[in-house]
């Protein structure tokens, strides 16, 4: 029987309070890590658990922590990435509102593991209320002696601050986030050097997503084997799935990693709104390749989705019914990436403009067959040719929509020819 841990107690009143978190076993892991484990042992347990990043890339968290140099006289930093802005994704907001201490405790443990004495939680600027929730949760943790100097007599010091963004999707990309935290435009950096070697303030830095860090206390408390027993061993754990669009019961569902997508939509989500037929599903946030209705009998985990040419991404499932105009839907996505391109790399800055323009032309009935091919070609020229993955994120929906729903694009063109 699957037990919800990340969202297990969020429906009780004042679930965001420290006292209520402690009633469910909260902060036991923090005590355990400080008193019974070395930093390296914490990293080892997280490596053993196969926890993979929940922000979109799915990179193994323990391995990432292991990249931080053992010998350095520079301060280290942990950045909790709460810049949730991938269209279709709203899980971190739920954790912050309902169970903020889980991601705060996870940030403490991760800071200890990478020997960081400062942690910033970078939260998107629009989440004004959520920033306040985090700030008061952090205050509670200070009052309780879980943050500050010589925590619980361990000799370990840690300060934690909330840092608000100000409206820019690109700041969810880890080096864009780092630049933004430094008070600059969120322009991603060329890697290497990777943040673990040279990140914020030119110091070793680890950036992890809210949900990734929220898993950490449970792993430390219950062990790597418990975590690995949930879902596929190569990328296991409890997982928050975000369901939106044309479903009867949209929302965040905590389920074992690898839940079947069809089951997610029809059983948990109650099926398609107004009992219409399903046309398409974006399984992992707007930047991942779209699936047709025939492709949804698939496990929602990193490897299974990669096998059918898409990605788990941020697990933002966007459902589109039979009446959805796919040219319109793609135009909406293309507009988003054009707006959010930071403007640093030419293929992305120019390509996203071209893609939006071509889509507007096709939508208006002025397009030609050649425009459809040109659109796909523009996407091919953005993909893998930019500093950060925003370029790929802009290209993948275009490539997949045009490939899988080409008939809808052609119908608009034929209409204009007739």
């Amino acid at each position: 029987m699957f037990e919800k841990v990340l969202t297990g107690h969020i429906n009780i009143p004042d679930s965001q309070k420290l006292a209520n978190y402690e009633k469910t076993g909260g902060y036991r892991a923090w005590r355990k890590a400080l008193k019974e484990m070395t930093s390296d042992q914490v990293i080892e347990v997280v490596k053993q658990s196969n926890l993979r990043g929940r922000g979109g890339a799915g990179f193994p968290a323990g391995m990432k922590w292991g990249f931080v140099p053992k010998t350095t006289d520079k301060p280290h930093y942990l950045l909790n990435n709460a810049d949730e802005s991938e269209p279709g994704t709203f899980k971190d907001r739920l954790i912050i509102n309902g169970n903020p201490h889980s991601t705060i405790e996870g940030s403490m443990i991760a800071s200890y593991a990478i020997r960081a004495n400062t942690c910033y939680i970078y939260i998107r600027g629009e989440f004004v209320k959520e920033a306040k929730v985090l700030e008061s949760a952090i205050r509670e943790a200070y009052d309780k002696g879980y943050l500050g100097k010589n925590i619980l007599g361990s000799g370990f010091n840690l300060d934690m601050y909330v840092h608000r963004g100000a409206g820019a999707y690109i700041c969810g990309e880890e080096t864009g986030l780092i630049e933004s935290l430094e008070g600059k435009r969120g322009w991603p950096r060329i890697k290497p050097p990777f943040p673990a070697i040279e990140g914020v303030f030119r110091c070793p830095t680890i950036v992890n997503n809210v949900e990734t860090l929220a898993c950490v206390p449970y792993i430390i408390e219950r062990g790597a084997e418990w975590f690995k027993s949930i879902g596929p061993a190569s990328g296991p754990g409890p997982k928050l799935y975000c369901l939106s669009g044309h479903v009867k019961k949209p929302g965040v569902y905590e389920l074992p990693m690898g839940v079947n997508l069809k089951e997610l939509i029809y059983e948990y989500g109650g099926g398609i709104l107004n009992d219409k037929k399903l046309k398409a599903v974006i399984p992992g946030g707007s930047s991942v390749p779209v699936l047709t209705a025939e492709e949804i009998d698939v496990a929602m985990d990193f490897d299974s989705l990669a096998k059918i040419g898409t990605m788990l991404g941020s697990a933002g499932v966007i459902v589109m019914d039979e009446d959805t105009d796919m040219v319109n839907a793609l135009l909406n996505i293309a507009h988003f990436y054009r707006h959010e391109s930071c403007g640093q790399c030419t293929p992305c800055r120019e390509g996203t403009h071209w893609a939006e323009k071509l889509l507007k032309k096709i939508k208006s009935g002025q397009g030609t067959m050649a425009d459809i091919d040109l659109l796909a070609e523009v996407a091919d020229h953005i993909n893998f040719r930019t500093i950060c993955p925003l370029g790929d994120a802009a290209a993948m929906p275009i490539q997949s929509f045009v490939k899988k729903f080409r008939h809808e694009f052609e119908a608009k063109v034929r209409k204009s020819a007739a």
């Binding site: 709203f90 600027g125 840092h163 435009r185």
Partner: protein, 158 residues
């Protein structure tokens, strides 16, 4: 416009600066604070923040102009930020914008003549499960119909 932080805001500013190893890193929070104090960020506000953080105006502007939440122009007293990204678009964001245009006479980027209400279409607000969503000033209003929006706006009155 008399630009200077109140004593309370200055205290808050000093606390913010103390969180970072250098002053530049305090720029985003300082701009948020300035916007809260001055309602928007005219040249004088950017220049003032720059002086406090020992940054030239050009660098403050360079950063401020990158982020959509920093208001380099004034907005209405009630600033409607309508999410129009995919999940909201699928669930009626367009009808919200059409309604605002019809009933209050403002389109994207416009403010009513009395300065009460302004509208801007924004990108994904991260509340897709309760679409459509409108952020009015700092607060989210979710799962919204045009009629509910009217009632909320009537509630603001002044």
């Amino acid at each position: 416009m008399n630009i200077a932080f109140s004593n309370d805001a200055m205290k808050e500013f000093r606390e913010i600066v103390a969180r970072y190893p250098n002053k530049r890193a305090a720029l985003l929070p300082a701009l948020h604070l300035a916007q809260r104090e001055f309602a928007w960020l005219p040249y004088e506000a950017l220049e003032y923040v720059g002086r406090l953080l020992e940054l030239p105006y050009s660098e403050v502007y360079d950063t401020a102009s990158f982020y959509t939440m920093f208001k380099l122009k004034p907005t209405g007293k009630y600033h409607l930020q309508v999410c129009h990204t995919l999940s909201c678009a699928l669930r009626g964001a367009g009808a919200i914008c059409d309604h605002v245009k019809e009933k209050y006479g403002i389109g994207n980027g416009e403010t009513t003549p009395d300065g009460k209400l302004s509208l801007v279409k924004v990108e994904c607000l991260g509340s897709c499960g309760t679409a459509p969503v409108v952020q009015i000033n700092d607060d989210y209003y979710e799962d919204l119909s045009p009629e509910q929006l009217d009632r909320i706006l009537e509630g603001f009155k002044s």
